[in-house]
C-alpha cells in the first residue's frame, strides 16, 4: 500500500503539503526535546547531557523497526523507499568535516532551524555559515567533482555488506542503542552540571 505518493494512491500535489506537516512534527519534537539549545546538544560530548544520543538513537531504532514491520505486514514497499547511495570517500570526509562543524558550532542544520524558530541568534549565525559553506562547495565543485563521485557503491545497505538480514541488523542496532543509553546515564551521573 505505501509509500502512498510514489504509488499515486495520494496525488503528487499533496507531497509538499505532507512535507510541511512532517516538518511541523519534526520541528516541534526537536524543540520539545531541547535541541534548540546548543549547550544541551554539545553536552553529549562532555557527558553532562546525553539527550542527543537518546533522541537520535531512539528515533533511528523506531523508524528502522517501523519500516521493517510495515514491510512485513505488506503496508509499505521498501523498494520504493529512497536509500541514499554510498560514495565511500566523500561520505567519510564529509562526515569528518561535519563532525568538526558540530563540536565548533554546537548545532546541526536540522536543529538549528528549531533554534532559530525560538529566537536563538547563535543559530541564525550558524545558518548563515551553512549558506556560505554550501556556496563554497558549489563554487569549488569543478575541483571536487572527481572526489565527490569516487567510490560509488550505489544504494548499498549495511545488512548486505555484513551478509545478514535487515531484521538481525536492526536487532544489533537496538542492542548498541541500549548500551549507549546506559553509558549516557552513567556519564550524566559522572559529569553532572547544574542549570545551563
Amino acid at each position: 500500500m505505501g509509500p502512498l505518493i510514489p504509488q499515486e494512491i495520494i496525488g503528487q500535489d499533496w507531497n509538499l503539503f505532507i512535507a510541511f506537516i512532517v516538518g511541523i512534527g519534526f520541528g516541534f519534537i526537536l524543540e520539545q526535546a531541547g535541541f534548540s539549545s546548543s549547550r544541551k546538544l554539545a553536552g553529549v560530548f562532555y557527558g553532562y547531557d546525553t539527550v542527543v544520543l537518546k533522541v537520535f538513537f531512539g528515533a533511528a531504532v523506531t523508524a528502522m523497526l517501523g519500516l521493517l514491520f510495515f514491510s512485513l505486514f505488506g503496508w509499505i514497499d521498501l523498494s520504493l523507499v529512497y536509500v541514499n547511495p554510498t560514495f565511500l570517500g566523500s561520505a567519510i570526509v564529509g562526515g569528518i568535516v561535519m563532525g568538526i562543524g558540530f563540536i565548533a558550532g554546537g548545532f546541526c542544520p536540522g536543529v538549528s532551524f528549531s533554534a532559530i524558530a525560538i529566537g536563538k541568534i547563535d543559530a541564525m549565525v550558524f545558518l548563515g555559515g551553512i549558506f556560505i559553506g554550501i556556496f563554497m562547495f558549489a563554487e569549488a565543485y569543478p575541483l571536487l567533482e572527481s572526489f565527490y563521485m569516487s567510490g560509488n557503491l550505489g544504494a548499498l545497505k549495511l545488512s548486505d555488506v555484513l551478509g545478514i538480514s535487515g531484521g538481525f541488523l536492526a536487532f544489533l542496532v537496538i542492542i548498541a542503542a541500549l548500551g549507549m543509553f546506559w553509558l549516557g546515564d552513567l556519564a550524566e551521573k559522572k559529569f553532572p552540571r547544574e542549570e545551563y
Binding site: N15, D49, G95, I103, G110, I118, F131, G133, E195
Partner: protein, 169 residues
C-alpha cells in the same frame, strides 16, 4: 534532571514516528541541508544566471521546469520553523538571545557558530546530507552511507571535544 524538556526516550520514539510517516507517505526521509542548498541555488541563479547555467553544480538544479524552492525539503523546513515556534511558544521559550557558556563571550560564541555552520554546510554537500538527511534517515533504511555518516560525524566530534572544551565547559 532537567524537567523543562520532554523525556528524551519519548521524544526519540515520536521523532521516529514522524520519520516513519515521511517514509509511508512520501517514500523518503527527513533532511535539512538540502533546503539551504535550494536557497543557495536560487540566490546564485537569480544574481548571476549565466554563472549558474555554466556551473556543473547549479545547473543540476535549474533549467526548464525545475524550481529549486518547490522542493520537499524546503516545505519540510518551513514546517520545522512553525513546529519549533509552536513548541517554544507553548513552553515559554520564545526569546531573542545568544546562548553561550558563561565562560566565553557572546562574540566568541557567534564566531564559532559561524565556523561550525560553514564546515557543516560544506561537509553536508560532500557527504550528501547532514545529520537528519544522511545519518538519521540513512540509518533507518539501513543504508551503509547512513552508518558511515553517523560514525564519522559523532566520532570526529567526540575526538575533538577536548580541544573545544573551553567553549562548552
Amino acid at each position: 534532571m532537567n524537567t523543562k524538556y520532554m523525556n528524551p526516550y519519548l521524544a526519540g520514539v515520536l521523532l521516529g514516528l514522524v520519520l516513519l510517516m515521511a517514509f509511508f507517505f512520501s517514500g523518503r526521509g527527513l533532511g535539512a541541508s538540502g533546503a539551504v542548498k535550494s536557497t543557495v541555488v536560487t540566490v546564485v541563479s537569480t544574481i548571476a544566471p549565466e554563472h549558474a547555467a555554466n556551473s556543473p553544480f547549479y545547473s543540476k538544479y535549474i533549467g526548464e521546469g525545475k524550481s529549486p524552492m518547490k522542493s520537499w525539503l524546503v516545505f519540510e523546513i518551513m514546517g520545522v520553523l512553525v513546529g519549533g515556534f509552536l513548541s517554544g511558544a507553548l513552553a515559554g521559550r520564545l526569546k531573542l538571545k545568544i546562548e553561550h557558556f558563561p565562560g566565553i563571550s557572546a562574540n566568541r560564541r557567534l564566531i564559532f557558530a559561524m565556523i561550525g555552520g560553514i564546515l557543516f554546510g560544506f561537509g553536508s554537500q560532500l557527504g550528501r546530507g547532514c545529520a537528519s538527511g544522511s545519518a538519521l534517515t540513512g540509518m533507518a533504511v539501513l543504508s551503509l552511507s547512513g552508518f558511515i555518516s553517523m560514525a564519522t560525524m559523532f566520532g570526529t566530534a567526540f575526538a575533538l571535544a577536548y580541544f573545544f572544551r573551553k567553549n562548552w565547559i
